[in-house]
């Protein structure tokens, strides 16, 4: 404790420029983790503004708040931003910060690769947003990409997408893709090689297991996406015809490339969310995770099955009945390990003494919403049902249930749970609960009611709609929900800033938790542990706190 506060005072005595320089040149996994997270929060606000613009436009039929061109840019930028520059950096940021601490390591395996990966990702985000200024290149004023976040060919061909907006999109994803692959390699190497004495694979916290599988998924997932981006560049500038249908190329090949990335990507994002829940739920229920080995097996199963489900995004594309049937089966099969996870979390809570602090509130919200998201997912997996629901607002509601209702709720929970470790200050509980309830109400107003216009035939990505189709009132409610969500996020950001300066001191272990990160100071010193810890069970701090009843007797 005293060493770290000494380091802190020395750091604060240095001039601001030097301190900023320290952040830019850092290779410390904790600082890079914080950079990832701050960067993602900036983009979260940008993506939120884009969503708000869309919801204002759709508040009533034939509205003319923005032009169709602007609306199309908004949904393209919203989707791309939220996936690549909010969700990915957030989960990478937490993994970067927490994995070395949880396995009792002093840093990641490749600290410089870590810094390189972050800055490649950062470059990608800046590229994407520069398109607002430079997108149309020589053709005139700016313009962001408007091809949709899955950028189906041939809309991205030179014929249909003039100017450079699509190129900014391509280069942005290519650049951040290199960053993601670098981080994934780094996480795998760290987890496999840098665990502290005693921590066998079977004694790793579930958090680490889930992030290991996530990193293992990133490599075969992001690679085809990056390859497709290069092929698109070749098409656009070197006369290639991969996706150029006017020269005999294939639009369907792009879809395969994109979705073999796109679907495992959902699991790249949701596995870390599971990781947060798998740490928070046991601690706040005061019980060990139920069925640890089954949880690990289910995670690995999800990893493998998720690689074989991509074409359920393509049931309307006209694949053969045999292919469609295969993807119905593989997609439904993934519900089994996912369901097992939900049951194990419930069993963890069963018989516990559950404390509803803010992190746990968000995790309960997650369980509720993920249950619904899973069930609407099963509906979409039934291919004929999907022929009606695909590309409608039902799908938009479904995947927001996953990405916001499950992933973002867990991420918010993770903020409340771990930021005391990162800043040394507790987040305010009152504001935290206000944040939870505002966001919970807003989420359900927006995304519950969004299913209905989908069932009533409203397709996604339309900048306006006809009156008289029974969609008006639902769209109004959906838009109203945005007000609550925005208020919730503002409370959250305010809480982060306020608590950073005024928050209650956290101490090493404010939640009475069990994993190794809570054994070092808050914030941890640069080297994490003066003496490397030794783990004898999955909950080393439980063993310390309960010498009469240690876990290693049962594992």
């Amino acid at each position: 404790m005293s060493t770290s506060s000494l380091v802190l005072t020395q750091a604060q005595a240095r001039p601001l420029t030097l301190r900023l320089h320290g952040w830019v040149t850092t290779v410390d996994h904790k600082r890079l983790g914080i950079l990832y997270i701050l960067y993602a929060l900036v983009f979260l606000l940008a993506g939120g503004v884009e969503a708000t613009i869309m919801r204002v436009q759709l508040i009533r039929p034939h509205n003319d708040f923005v032009s169709p061109q602007v609306f199309n840019r908004m949904f393209t930028m919203h989707g791309t931003t939220m996936i690549f520059f909010v969700a990915m950096p957030l989960v990478f940021g937490f993994a970067n910060y927490l994995v070395p601490l949880m396995i009792g390591a002093r840093d990641m395996a490749f600290p410089r690769l870590n810094a390189f990966s972050f800055w490649m990702t950062a470059l990608g985000g800046l590229f994407l947003y520069f398109s607002f200024l430079g997108g149309d290149g020589l053709y005139g004023a700016g313009g962001a990409p408007d091809v949709g976040w899955f950028a189906y060919a041939p809309l991205t061909a030179k014929t249909f997408s003039v100017g450079h907006s699509t190129d900014f999109w391509t280069l942005s994803l290519f650049s951040s893709g290199i960053g993601s692959i670098g981080t994934a390699i780094n996480l795998i190497a760290t987890i496999l090689c840098m665990r502290c004495p005693g921590m066998t694979l079977g004694k790793m916290p579930l958090f680490v297991w889930l992030n290991l599988v996530m990193a293992g998924l990133v490599i075969p997932t992001i690679s085809p996406l990056s390859a497709a981006q290069l092929m698109l560049l070749v098409d656009r500038y070197l006369g290639g015809h991969f996706f150029d249908t006017q020269a005999g190329g294939s639009a369907v090949i792009w879809m395969h490339f994109f979705w073999i990335f796109g679907h495992p990507e959902v699991y790249v994002l949701v596995l870390p969310a599971f990781a947060f829940a798998s740490e928070i739920i046991p601690v706040f229920s005061r019980k060990a995770i139920f069925g640890y080995p089954v949880m690990v097996v289910a995670t690995v199963a999800i990893g493998f099955i998720s690689m074989s489900v991509w074409a359920h995004h393509m049931f309307t594309v006209g694949m053969s009945a045999g292919a469609n049937t295969f993807f119905v089966l593989s997609t439904m099969a993934i519900a089994v390990p996912t369901g097992i996870k939900i049951f194990n979390w419930l069993a963890t809570m069963w018989g516990g003494k559950i404390r509803y602090a803010t992190p746990m509130l968000f995790c309960v919200g997650f369980l509720f919403q993920f249950l619904i998201a899973g069930l609407t997912g099963v509906m979409l997996a039934a291919a004929p049902f999907d022929w009606q629901l695909a590309n409608s607002y039902f799908v938009v509601a479904h995947f927001h249930y996953v990405i916001v209702g499950a992933i973002l709720f867990c991420i918010f929970g993770a903020f409340y749970y771990w930021s005391p470790k990162v800043t040394g200050k507790m987040l305010d509980e009152m504001l935290g609960k206000l944040h939870f309830w505002l966001f919970f109400i807003g989420f359900h107003l927006t995304f519950d009611f969004m299913h209905i216009p989908g069932i009533l035939g409203m397709p996604r990505r339309i900048y306006t709609y006809e009156p008289g189709r029974g969609w008006d009132v639902w769209n109004l409610i959906v838009s109203i929900g945005v007000i609550f969500q925005a208020a919730g996020v503002l409370v959250f950001v305010g809480n982060l800033i306020w608590s950073c300066f005024r928050g209650k001191r956290a101490g090493n272990d404010p939640w009475d938790a069990w994993t190794l990160e809570w054994s070092t100071s808050s914030p941890p010193p640069e080297y994490n542990y003066a003496v490397l810890p030794i783990a004898r069970s999955r909950r080393p701090l439980w063993d310390l706190k309960h010498p009469e009843d240690p876990d290693w007797r049962y594992e």
Partner: protein
């Protein structure tokens, strides 16, 4: 009542989808009630109470029997749902056209629909006419980007993809107008690429066919002269005249259609006039250019178009 409700089917594919949907919805509803019930019970029953004191609850690490139970039950549910889905999938996707089925070729364009009836020698746009009680098999093509054909009350959607012909079919049981719209993002005006399917009685359909098979009158009106001497003919066809463009909708029987601009506006004199002089006012970003004609010429062209029956 929404005119595009997927749960108000009037055609076999849409009906069998509703049947499957109800089975899936019922199954998932049962799962929801059970799991949500468990969650609610756990959340309320096991909350910590102020009198609990500091003792930790008993630590339970797992149970093989319980894990087996909640693995096997979901597996059985998945198998049931899979079998039900594949049956409906095959019944719709593998259906062969019966004798007497009508063949239509739909070509998606940015942002309008072209309909060709090869056996009837008809080309029209944006408003599809089919007879009631008969199967219509539809070949789906695209002239440019991806589109998707979706009329929810008649059937599920199928995409129109360049270089990748697709098939779908409908057999509407009720007459009337059925609405839908493009369901795959295709560019700026994706939102106003609306679908209108008119299901006619046999007599009405036959009358419509005869109407569409007539060539246009080759007259000498001022409007036709202007039409034929400007860029209009680069994109539009009016059979029997010099206009033979393929990029835009066939206008030979324009006045038999109720709407213009792929359903974006009613087919009235005012809207036609506006559409010719300033397309962006009707459908900003559409591929119809503003021709820069003076009011008198636009009037003349509108007069001429109004004769195309």
């Amino acid at each position: 009542m929404s005119p595009t409700n997927i749960f108000a089917p009037v055609s076999t594919p849409a009906e069998s989808i509703v049947g499957l949907s109800i089975f899936v919805l019922a199954t998932t509803a049962v799962v929801f009630v059970v799991v949500f019930g468990l969650l609610a019970y756990v959340v309320i029953k096991f909350r910590s109470r102020p009198l609990d004191g500091q003792r930790e609850p008993p630590q339970v690490y797992g149970s093989t029997q319980v894990e087996m139970a909640w693995t096997v039950i979901p597996v059985l549910i998945v198998i049931a749902l899979f079998l039900a889905s594949s049956r409906v999938l095959a019944s719709i996707q593998n259906a062969k056209p019966p004798a007497g089925a009508l063949e239509v070729i739909v070509t998606g364009h940015q942002y309008w629909w072209e309909y060709r009836y090869p056996s009837l020698n008809i080309v029209t746009a944006n408003e599809l006419h089919v007879p009631v009680g008969v199967s219509t098999f539809i070949t789906l093509l695209s002239a440019d980007t991806d589109h998707s054909f979706w009329v929810p009350r008649l059937g599920g959607k199928t995409d129109l993809i360049p270089n990748h012909p697709n098939r779908t079919w409908i057999d509407p049981r009720e007459t009337g107008l059925f609405l839908g719209q493009c369901a795959q993002y295709c560019g700026t005006q994706h939102a106003k690429m609306l679908l209108r399917v008119y299901v006619d009685t046999r007599q009405d359909f036959d009358r419509w066919v005869r109407e569409q098979q007539r060539p246009a009158q080759n007259g000498t009106s001022a409007g036709q002269r202007i039409f034929e001497s400007t860029a209009c003919i680069n994109c539009h066809t009016i059979s029997g005249t010099a206009a033979a463009g393929k990029f835009g909708p066939d206008l030979t029987h324009l006045m038999t259609r109720e709407t213009i601009a792929a359903g974006a506006a009613p087919n009235t004199r005012e809207m036609l006039h506006l559409w010719i002089s300033n397309p962006d006012a009707v459908k900003p970003g559409s591929k119809m250019p503003a021709m820069g004609l003076n009011d008198r010429d636009v009037d003349a062209i509108t007069d001429y178009l109004e004769t195309l029956r």
